[in-house]
Structure formats: structure tokens, C-alpha cells
């Protein structure tokens, strides 16, 4: 498979909503650490959590998560 990386704009979406990591984690039902790791690209959430985060931040899945093709 070609070299791909997963990227997201969760931090931006969270700040736009005026939420802290802790508040977003409560709304999504996960730990603050998980939110931090997703934002820093060190943890790939399941589709279920992606959809929950998209709903909480009122973004589409495409706006929040995307694949970056390899150079």
C-alpha cells in the first residue's frame, strides 16, 4: 500500500467551538489524554469515535479527518 498518513483538524475544530480538551473529552465520552493524542496525530480513533467527534464539533467527517497521500 502506498505511503499514507492520517491527519485531522480536531484541535482547530475544538478551539472554534470554544472547548477545552477536557470539555471535549467529556462530551465525547473519552479521556482527555485520548483527545490530546488524536490532536497530536499519535492515536487513530475508531470510526465510531470519529463520528462522535464530528457530531460534537459540528463538522463533517471529511472536514475533521482526512488521508494525506505520500510524497
Amino acid at each position: 500500500m502506498e505511503d499514507i498518513t492520517f491527519e485531522n483538524s480536531l484541535r482547530l475544530a475544538r478551539v472554534e467551538k470554544g472547548l477545552t480538551q477536557s470539555e471535549l473529552s467529556e462530551l465525547a465520552g473519552v479521556t482527555r489524554q485520548t483527545i490530546g493524542l488524536i490532536e497530536s496525530g499519535k492515536y487513530n480513533p475508531t470510526l465510531k469515535l470519529c463520528l462522535i467527534l464530528a457530531r460534537v464539533t459540528e463538522k463533517s467527517l471529511d472536514d475533521l479527518f482526512w488521508i494525506k497521500e505520500g510524497e
Partner: protein, 144 residues
């Protein structure tokens, strides 16, 4: 959505799964090492290690069997394939034992010939059963 009180989310479950997987295999390896050490270094009789062997066997075959069943992607053996695998296993077990220990007396059939022929049959039978049940389970889930 309420934050759960034990801080368990999908990431911590995933971490717990990876940790359990790692330490299960470490435990199995160490247990095999203990059996090997007691049998061949300390020279303890085989019968004294039955409990260790039983626990190790249950752990390895239970793990593999459950994984194969839940995976549901094992190729199902037809009769010809099952007989072929059985024949290969018997040849390996019986051939290896004959080379290592020579031809055993017929009076000891229950501890020599029987396990050599019955063991592979049980293995092939269990495999065929797991493959069939696993595939059936998966097909049912898909069609539901």
C-alpha cells in the same frame, strides 16, 4: 455523553488488549521454559508436570481456537484435504518418534501407536470444526 467513571475509553481498551496479548505470550513462553527446565535439566518425571502441561496446552489451543473461530476466515477442509493433512501429521509424528525411539512394542500401543494416530485426528477434526463453525457464524452475522 457522560464521562465514564473508570476512565475507560477505546484507547485504553486497545492498550489493555495489546498488554494482555503481550503478557499472555510471555506467560506461555515462560511456562514452556519451566516445563523444559524441569524435564530436561532437573530430570523430573513427565507425570509430575501434567498440571503445567495442561495449563499451557489449554492456554495455547484455547487462544488459537478462539481466534480462529472468531476470525471466521479459515479455509474449510474437504474430505480429501483433511485426509492429506492427517496423513502428513501422522507421518511427521510417527516417523519422528520411530526415528528417535525405534519401533515400540505392540503391548505399549496405548501410549505409543494410539497417540500417534489419534492426536493428529483430533487436531484435524478440531480444525475442521472450528473452520466450519467460524465461517457459519460470520456468514450469519453478514446476512442478519
Amino acid at each position: 455523553m457522560m464521562f465514564n467513571r473508570f476512565n475507560v475509553d477505546e484507547r485504553s481498551k486497545q492498550t489493555a488488549t495489546h498488554t494482555a496479548y503481550f503478557f499472555l505470550h510471555i506467560t506461555q513462553l515462560l511456562l514452556a521454559g519451566v516445563i523444559f527446565y524441569r524435564l530436561y535439566i532437573l530430570g523430573q518425571p513427565d507425570g509430575e508436570l501434567r498440571d503445567f502441561q495442561l495449563v499451557l496446552g489449554l492456554s495455547i489451543f484455547g487462544y488459537m481456537g478462539t481466534q480462529l473461530y472468531l476470525g471466521g476466515i479459515l479455509p474449510i477442509l474437504n474430505v480429501k484435504g483433511a485426509l492429506l493433512v492427517y496423513g502428513i501429521l501422522v507421518t511427521m509424528v510417527a516417523g519422528g518418534s520411530l526415528l528417535a525411539y525405534g519401533v515400540p512394542p505392540l503391548s505399549d500401543w496405548s501410549t505409543t501407536w494410539l497417540p500417534a494416530f489419534l492426536g493428529p485426528a483430533i487436531l484435524v477434526g478440531l480444525y475442521a470444526l472450528l473452520a466450519w463453525l467460524g465461517k457459519r457464524r460470520l456468514e450469519r452475522q453478514i446476512t442478519e
